[in-house]
Every structure is written in C-alpha cells, then in structure tokens.
Point group: C2
Chain length 452, copies 2
C-alpha cells in the first residue's frame, strides 16, 4: 500500500463519528396522530412486545441508545383524542428491552426532584447489571406543576431543585461505587462471598438528602450507569458540566445548537474535565419516505384536521395574514415580500424558506415547521445531509431521533438514513463493544469521580 | 351415575384447596450455604436468567405466586461469607419474569415508609399491565434502622408508620382506579383515544402523603394489583384486615398460625368484609430428598461449620448443657429426662421431639430446628403431611415455600410434593385462569373499595 492509501485509511479511522439515539415515548411515535395510523396497534401504549420490537429495530440500525423521557406521570395531551406523552413505566420497559437486546444503550429520565435517591440508585444499577453494562440515567429536575401534583407537592424554586439535584447525583454515584470493582469474590471453594473491605458505607448527609449505604449491587460490565442530562438553563449547564457524559438537547438552528454545545463544554472544562467527555445530542424528528410529496401526504394523513388549526400560529411566525380558505395554495409573491420573521420563534426562518420554495400552506405546515425539533419530511438523504451539516459544523455530537410513527418509522430511518451516514464514514458500521460506555466512548467508572 | 358418585364429585369440586407461593430472595435459596453448593452458579445473585428459570420451575408446579421480600437494601448477612438476603431489585426482576412466564402471580414487597406513593402505584400497575393481571403488592411498613439509614432517616414510630401506611395504600388504590374500567376507547376510526370522563384525578391529601393524579395507566386484565401484607402486630392486623387479600405469615406451630389467621379474619370482619377474602399463608422451609438421612446430609453439607456453632442456642432451647465434643452422639436418657423447654422460643418443643427420636446433636440441628419457619428435611410426603395437617386444622390457607437451594430445591418440591397434594385433592391440578385474582379466588377490582 502506498503512502496516500495508508494516509486515507488513517484519516478514516480517525474520522469522528456521530452518536444516534432513538426517542421512545408513549410507543406510537412523535406525531399526535400516530396511534390512529393504519398498521399501528392502537393498544401499543400498553404493549411491551411493541416496545421491545422498536428497540430491536434501533439495534439493527446500530443506534447507540434508546431514550425514554419521563414526567413522570404527566399526560401533556388531550386524552380524549391523544395518547399520553410518556411511557407506561420507563424502568419496567427498559427491563423488558434489556432481556431482549444485546448492544443498545438503555436510557431513561429519573427525576432528582421526586424520587428517593436510594430507590433511583438501586433501580438504575440493577438495570445496568441486568443489561450487562448498558444503562444511562437522564438526571433532570422536574419543572412541571402537573408532575409535582402527583406527589401532593409544588415545584420547588430553581435553586432548591438544582441544589437537590447536585446532592442526589453525588449520592447516587457514591452508592453505585460503594461496592468496589473487585469486591465480589464469590469463591465457592474458600467460602469468601465478598471482600468486606471493598464494600463501604457512603455516609452522606446533605441539605436535601442523605444515605448511609452501601448499595448491595456489584459493578456491571461498565462499572456504573452513565449520567445524561437534559435542560437549557445556566443551572443545567452547571449540573451537566459537573456530572453528565451526554446531554439530550433541543435546538432549531446550527447556531443555537453550537452555542448550547459550547456552553456545556465550557462548563465541563470549568469542572476540570476534558470537554470531549460531554456529548451534545441534538433532536431530530423524521418522516422518511422515498420522495418529498409522498412524505408530505403521510404527514397530512397523520395530522388530520389539527394541521390547518395551526395556521394562526404560522401567521404569527411569518407576520402576515393567511387565508384559511386558501390552504391549498402557495403564498403569493406579495405575501412573501411582506413577510417579517417573528423574533420570538427561532423556527420562523425555516418556515419562510419552505414558503419561498412555493409549497401550499397545508404543505408548509406538513413540513413540521411548528414541531419542537428540526423535522425532515422526505427521503433519507435529506436527513443524512442535515445530520452531516450539523455534525461537521460542531453543532452536535449526535442526534436523538423521534420518528413520526414508530411501527414503520424506525425501520425507515434504519434502512434509508443509516447506510448513507455509514458510507460517508460519519456513523459506525457496528457496535464498538457491549457496554454503553464503550459505544459512546466514555471511560469505565467505579466509585464517584474523584474530582468532585 | 348414582347418587353417591355424584355426591363424591360434588364434594371434590367443593373441596377447599390450598395456595402455594415460592419465596425468591437473593436467588440462591434460603440456606446461607446455598451459594456454595455444587451445581449452583455462584453469580446467581446478579443473574436474571436464573431468576426467570426459578419462576418457570414454580409455574410448572402450578404455584399461585412467587414472593420477593425486600428491605430494601439491607443485607442481613455477613457479606464476607454470606449472600445479601434480598433480591437485587424486586421490580426489575418481576419485569423479567413477567415476560417469560404466563400464569404465576408476581408479588414483591414495597415499603409504604420509604417510597413516594405515586412511584409505587405506577410501577405495580405497570407490572400488572405487563403481566396481563398477575401483580401483587406486599404493602408493609419498614421496621429496620439499617433500611431507614439508606434514606438518611430513622424508623418512625409504629403509629406514624401505620398511619402513613393506611394513607399510602388508600392513595395507591385510588390511583390504580383513576382510569376507569372502560375508559380506554382507542378507536382508530372515530379518533377517540380515551373517555375523559372516566379518567379522574383523585385529589387526596392526607397527614402523610397526597396526590392529585390521575395515574395514566388503564386497568389490567384483573383490574388492579392485589394487596398482600406481612406483619404480626395489632397494627398489622388492622391494616391487613382493611386492605389485604393475602397475608404472608410466620408461625412455628399450628396453634400459633391458627391464632394469627383468626386475628386477620376477625379484623377483616370488623371492616365489613367476608373473612374468606383474606388468605393466611404460612411459611415452610424445605429440603426435599428421597429419605431423611440423605436429606440431613445435604443440610450438613449446606451448613458447614456454622451448624455446630448453633449448639449454644440449642442448649438454651432445651435447658440442658450440651457437649460440643459429642456432636455426633444422641442425647443421653438423663439429658432427655432433665430437658426443660424454653418459654421464650416456640421452636423448643419441636427440637425436643426430634431429640427424643434419637438423632445426634448434629442431626438435630440439621433438622433446621432453629430456622425461622417450620422445616421439612426429608421425602416429599413429609412436606405434604405437614401442609395437609395445618391446612385442615384451619391454621393456613396456603404456604410460601423457601427451598434450601433454589437451583434444584424448587424442582424437588414440584416433583415430589405437588403431585401428592394434587392426588389428595387439596391443591389444584391447573391454573384456574390467567390472572392472580382468578388464581387465588379474589374478585376483580376497579377503583378503590367503596367500603373504605
Ligand atoms: C431535550 C430535553 C429533554 C427533556 N426531557 C425531560 C424529561 O424527560 N423529563 C422532565 O421532567 N424534564 C425534561 N426536560 C426538562 C428539563 O429537565 C428542565 O426541567 C426544563 O428544561 C426546565 O429548565 P430549568 O429547570 O433548568 O429551568 C427536558 C428538557 C429538554 C431540553
Ligand atoms: C412473614 C413476614 C414477612 C415479612 N416481609 C417483610 C419484607 O419483605 N420487608 C420488610 O421490610 N418487612 C417485612 N416484614 C416485617 C413486617 O412488615 C413488620 O415491619 C415487622 O413484622 C414489624 O412489625 P410491626 O411493624 O407491626 O411492629 C415481614 C414480616 C413477616 C412476619
């Protein structure tokens, strides 16, 4: 092999690759109408079979993790016509998935505000052991009054929420580490079950929570679960910079994502960490269908009447009156010329860009311009292009994907987007290992981080 | 068919049958030495495969339920030589078992003292949905300071523990019932997901806990999980009489068990319930081997040195000095004549009875006379006789079995004891249905009991 070939291989091996996660919410998919789509089991909300199948589809696509957000318990939907937003129970679902997958990471939200830390510590570590080192804990503070009401409480101040979160995460990492790496002897010959000197109480007592410990669970194949975080306030940067290896983000533009990613990296640095230890994962919603027109029609079918009801909001984004009786016509040249982007909504520029391409009002809305993440409605290459552009601009270390409808939307992504990313060398061909730490490139961890 | 044959069939059909549960603790078995036995996987403590296999063995034997006690988190053992007493995580274990069994009930302890009730409600109901109606919640108050220390707390007074327990169970049953029986429409044609009028907040606020709800989980095939209880104080009778369908008991003699059973039945009556709605389940530890001698040898192998270390305690039970250098000899006639039973230990009479049969000191101990439930060390028929005697004396509605070593002890019980009980007509030939309520004979339940 000549010099330049060697060099090329070298470059390819060094090439940074993105991470991909799958958002598994209520099980139907991210579009409100998903539960009604032909081919969808309307009882999918309570179907653990369906959840397992969806995780297996993501594993086929070599996704690094599945992510289950959680209130817990809030519905965030009009239950008369919409499915609850969250999973029935995130830990039991991940337990089922753990038994029926082999590589994919298992990540769920666990509120630091409304859980006893010992209980959280135990369940995530047990999941980590059960999955042979694939657990991740999205350690967030709860901010919804509807969630607080499930506990007969109000949402505490931001200071108290984050104060407690710092204590809870530290305490839980200590409990995870209370059973040392080589503590478990289980030698049937000598009768030594464990090395008592390597199983230590933690004796933490803070302002908000305390625990003596130890936690009687030996380390998993990755040591202990990985900390994820999701949030965008200065307090969130501070918490994630201290503890998190992965941030589940939400940003509409490359500029916004870059700014968020940098803020998390700076915070990690200020805690003495290498900023590459914290991965910023941007959101992406997908309707992957062979061509744009067919994809838009699928979105129109999914949304039903609710699509046109959003015209008023589009009007605000573009700063021009829109006529509901002309939903199937594009904007006129006069309308396009007088459009003024809303300062309050970062999605406005994208909406105008789509409008300028000449799509009808209905089609503009079907592009998902008012959804809560960037949306790809079209063939796989459009998603691949979006992801590559963000990734190479330093706006994200990866993406968490919310398919429109899970039952076929995960497969569509796996079959139509993943191969393109792999061909371009920006997504791995196969899992690097069996643990989540190996697959996202985080070091093993035993005990708490000595720097904190 | 003539009158008497008809009558006989009638009698058999009416014949009361006992319930059987399997105690699944740390996974090795109830004897301390179980983890060291040949054929036992020394890593069974963290093996969900092993736990599933054990539950499947019990299901082959038509056991009505498996029962996982929980601290949570206390070890109750000298970790240097013994395995922790409890399961890694009871809910994740039951989730794994739920996916890989079809009929057996899934029961775990959940502390009313150290859990947020909303979290408990959600996990048990999700387990109930996941298992298609097979969940039971052993609602106890925590009484160990080692458990409290995991939460940075002390054990509250009995009054506060039981005061909170009453509120927690009521609140949880209300949350379970907050999604009415027919609330979930999921009609893809009409687009009606759920009947909003049948999904109601619970708006409970007590002295100890509160919740607005609702819980967004539809009913399972049995409506909602069954309440179990375990405890023996007047407060426990009161709590169980109000809420429980099953009591996990501990008694050494028929008289004691009868008294306990009656106390629970009286308490149920005082709450306006039919006393048959509460089943008292007595404990039984088993070493089932073809003959007594081989069974004793197995126990001796299991116990190792720890057996003879208990001689001092046997001495107290019998009120006579015992010579450690003569452990392989039976008691002399003079010793037997002067023995005085300890007033403080109800197990003493049984110990003396065994001693009078002429067994050596080592063999007396190997009979398990100091274990924490009655123990059968011998062929299956001895267990069947014990169970029949207690059952027919009205001392128990069933038994929870703690095999010495799970890896072969469950199969031994299933193969050697169950067929005898079935032949005698006092244990069912097959599951009555798919739900735990069907299999223990409890009515479906939606919402909270209107009488409370
Ligand atoms: C992408 C993303 C995902 C989130 N996922 C959850 C979640 O699963 N559960 C939750 O309670 N909050 C979730 N949050 C909310 C945050 O944890 C946080 O409470 C919220 O952003 C309010 O921010 P602040 O508390 O820092 O002011 C998420 C936020 C973002 C941006
Ligand atoms: C057979 C039996 C099983 C029990 N199982 C548990 C258990 O799994 N977890 C637990 O914390 N306590 C358990 N207990 C303890 C009781 O819940 C209770 O706390 C204890 O008996 C003290 O009684 P009191 O609190 O009524 O005074 C059990 C008790 C009995 C008799």
């Amino acid at each position: 092999m000549n010099y330049s070939e060697e060099k090329k291989e070298q470059l390819n091996a060094d090439k940074k690759q993105m991470l991909i996660g799958l958002h598994l919410g209520n099980g139907y998919g991210s579009q409100q109408g998903a539960w009604r789509m032909p081919g969808v089991d309307p009882k999918s909300y309570t179907s653990f079979d369906a959840r397992v199948k969806q995780a297996q589809a993501a594993e086929r696509g070599k996704f690094q993790f599945i992510f289950l957000p959680d209130g817990p318990g809030a519905v965030l939907a009009d239950i008369a016509t919409e499915a609850p937003a969250f999973n029935l129970d995130v830990m039991l679902t991940l337990a089922a998935v753990a038994r029926e997958t082999q590589y994919i990471g298992l990540v769920a939200t666990g509120s630091t505000t409304f859980n006893e830390p010992f209980n959280l510590a135990r369940q995530f570590k047990a999941l980590d052991v059960m999955s042979h080192g694939r657990a991740g804990w999205n350690a967030i503070t709860s901010s919804g009054e509807d969630v607080a009401a499930n506990y007969g409480k109000r949402i505490p101040s931001s200071e108290d929420r984050y104060g407690r979160a710092h204590e809870v995460i530290q305490l839980i990492q200590s409990l995870w580490g209370s059973w040392g790496k080589d503590a478990w002897i289980h030698n049937q010959e000598t009768g030594e079950f464990a090395n008592r000197n390597e199983i230590l109480p933690i004796n933490l007592q803070g302002k908000y929570v305390g625990s003596r410990g130890p936690l009687y669970i030996p380390p998993s194949e990755q040591g202990q679960p990985i900390i994820f975080h999701a949030g965008g306030s200065p307090n969130a940067y501070e918490l994630a910079g201290r503890f998190a290896n992965v941030v589940i983000g939400a940003a509409f533009t490359i500029e916004d994502a870059k700014a968020q990613r940098n803020a998390f990296r700076e915070s990690a640095k200020s805690h003495g960490r290498n900023p590459d230890e914290i991965k910023y994962i941007a959101g992406l919603m997908t309707t992957i269908v062979k061509d744009r027109r067919t994809a838009l029609d699928r979105r129109i079918q999914l949304a039903g009447d609710s699509l046109v009801q959003r015209l008023g909001y589009l009007q605000q984004m573009l700063g021009i009156p829109l006529n509901p009786s002309k939903v199937d016509e594009p904007l006129t040249k006069a309308q396009l010329d007088t459009a003024r982007l809303s300062r309050y909504d970062p999605r406005s520029a994208n909406a105008l860009k789509i409008a300028q391409e000449g799509w009808s009002l209905r089609d503009i809305l079907a592009h998902g311009v008012i959804d809560y993440h960037p949306v790809i409605v079209g063939p796989g290459v459009e998603a691949a292009d979006h992801m590559q552009a963000w990734f190479e601009a330093g706006a994200a270390d990866g993406f968490w994907i919310s398919p429109d409808v899970n039952s076929d939307g995960i497969d569509a992504f796996v079959d139509e987007v993943v191969p393109i990313l792999q061909e371009r060398g920006i997504f791995h061909q196969d899992y690097e290992g069996r643990t989540l730490r190996e697959n996202i490139g985080a070091p093993e961890q035993y005990g708490i981080d000595p720097r904190v």
